[in-house]
Amino acid sequence: MTSMAEPLRRVPAAYWWLTLLLVLTLMLALGYGYRQLQERSEAPLFRVVVNGEALILDGESHAALGQELSVLAGRLDLHLRDEMQPWLDARLDTAFAPLEAAIPEYLDWHFSLRGSYLRLAVALGGDLDEWLEAQLNERLLERSNIAAALEELEADFGARLVEVQQRVVGEIGSTLQTRYAPRQAAARNEDELPTIDLDLALEGTLQGRWDEARWGTAGAGGIVGFAAGRALTQRLVAGTAMQGSRALMARIAPRLGMHAARSVGAGAATTAATAPSGPMALLAGTAATAVALAGFAGTEYALLKAEESRYRDDMHAELELELTRARAEVRQALEAAASDWTQSLERSLRRGIHDAEEAAQIPSQYRILGSR
């Protein structure tokens, strides 16, 4: 009897082979896919030494680290400026404070009887501007010791910059370490991994900078010297109040006779004594001047005092303004030097990393700062 259920049972043995074939195909396909996946996820493992710890990172984390390092390096300039600015402001305040304090003292002298006479005498006898410069230099700048203070500031600025830089670069290292230590990948053959020593690169960068830093501030030092030196006194003299005070002399001078008046008005180096009017005229002129001066002492003192009250405040303000400007210039010069230096630091940081990667023979597509 052919059973009704016969076809139910008739499962050919070929199905065993079919199963074997299917399983084998599936295994081969999955095995291949798995190997591919493994290769892709294992190929780019890197060992990055940062902040004294060797981190093992896969390609993705490594790229992220590179990007972050790049951003941090790019922000180095800003970061440093933020760190340096309050310090620099405070130091500039202390450096310029004696100078500002010396202004009233100078003005006291400037408008004192003695000072006025001296000015008048110099106005009659020589180049008032030059003399005023010398006076300012002696009574204002030298007395307040600004040059020494600025020199000291320069030196401190350099040292401080290096110190802050060291700290900031150290912070970059520790930031990267704390951010990427938990993202480490497991590696079986750790020693064969390409190693990028960021610590070495960062340290090398700072080492190289140390000497350059001195050179850098020496360059800035020239500007500081300029601001604190003769150019400053020249600018101080050129102020309008100072010129107004000088004009006062010009108005007083007519009482002293035409000759002297011309001399004062021109502000030239011609004096009454060297006027080309022959020996007699010279004698007469000198005598007239002396008489006029004596008369001035008697009659014009009140006028002088009145003018003083008129010009003194303006002069004070002007001197202070000039000092503020000089201060801003010094500050700018120092900051420009710092910025230059930071930029070169950043460049050499990039170069250091590039060299480190070159030494580790990292394929170019995995390089931290691009393949350059």
């Binding site: 059973s3 009704m4 259920a5 076809p7 139910l8 049972r9 499962v11 199905y15 065993w16 079919l18 199963t19 074997l20 299917l22 399983v23 084998l24 599936l26 295994m27 999955l30 095995g31 798995y34």
Partner: protein
């Protein structure tokens, strides 16, 4: 007395040897070391897949035959064309291969606590089978009795096992994953004991799936903000994996029974033909 007991034992073993064999196969597979298991993956996979395939193919053909008998004339050639051939076989082969893979991977990851549950439900399966057979004997055409019993067996036995597995999974301690990110949870709790090969990869994948399920359930309970979607996902994963595993186990046992039946039938036919 003892003799009768041992005879009874042999009788039970003879009648349900296939279930014992299946349980033994599963236990051995679960106990193998990672290297041996990786080496034996191909034959074991083929055997298990073939057993599952046999059971489900038989059930599918039974279903098809009922349908054909309902609508087609007995003499029609369509009866032969539509009774289930290569296409049906391929479909059930694919299903069986995937189920076998799931079963094998899950067995490798199974904590020992599950084994009593598994064995208990295999015993239950045998009991249900006997009960069904006794009940259906008087009503079903003799030729189809065994096949029909097997077909009807899958649902109750599978549901019972799935229920027990879900309860065990909920009762067992889980790794504490509250507050952890998914990625962190998976990385921290995936063991590296499995080998490097394909089986190891599957095992890790299975672990990750399990951890995902725990993570979703725990974090959905803790963080009310994440809420509904996550907890649904967790429960869905739990029910899906456990019931798929249960289904695979029952299908394996049923398939072994079917194979035994077929072999026994052929042997009987051979004996009949011999004289």
């Amino acid at each position: 007395m003892a003799k009768r007991l041992s005879e009874r034992c042999r009788q039970v073993l003879g009648r349900h040897g296939h279930v014992v064999l299946v349980a033994g196969l599963m236990a051995v597979w679960a106990l193998l070391g990672p290297r041996v298991a990786a080496a034996l993956l191909l034959p074991v996979w083929v055997i298990v897949a073939q057993l599952i395939f046999l059971g489900s193919f038989e059930a599918a053909r039974l279903r098809r035959r009922a349908w054909l008998g309902q609508y087609l004339v007995a003499a029609s050639p369509w009866q032969r064309w539509l009774r289930g051939g290569l296409l049906m076989a391929l479909w059930h082969q694919g299903l069986a291969i995937l189920l076998a893979l799931l079963l094998l991977v899950k067995l490798r990851l199974l904590p020992p606590v599950y084994w009593p549950v598994l064995l208990m439900s295999l015993v239950a399966l045998v009991l249900i089978q006997q009960l069904l057979k006794r009940r259906l004997q008087r009503h079903v055409i003799g030729e189809y009795l065994a096949a029909l019993v097997r077909r009807l067996l899958v649902w109750p036995a599978g549901a019972l096992l799935a229920l027990l597995l879900v309860l065990t999974a909920l009762w067992l301690p889980q790794p504490y994953l509250v507050g952890l990110g998914w990625e962190e949870a998976v990385i921290r709790h995936t063991s590296t004991a499995a080998g490097d090969g394909l089986l190891g990869a599957f095992e890790r994948f299975g672990q990750a799936l399990e951890l995902t399920q725990f993570w979703a359930m725990q974090n959905a309970l803790e963080r009310h903000g994440l809420g509904q979607g996550l907890i649904l996902f967790g429960w869905f994963l739990l029910l899906l994996t456990q019931s798929a595993f249960a289904w695979a186990v029952v299908r394996l046992a049923v398939g072994a029974d079917a194979l035994r039946d077929t072999l026994g039938h052929f042997r009987n036919a051979g004996r009949k033909d011999a004289p």
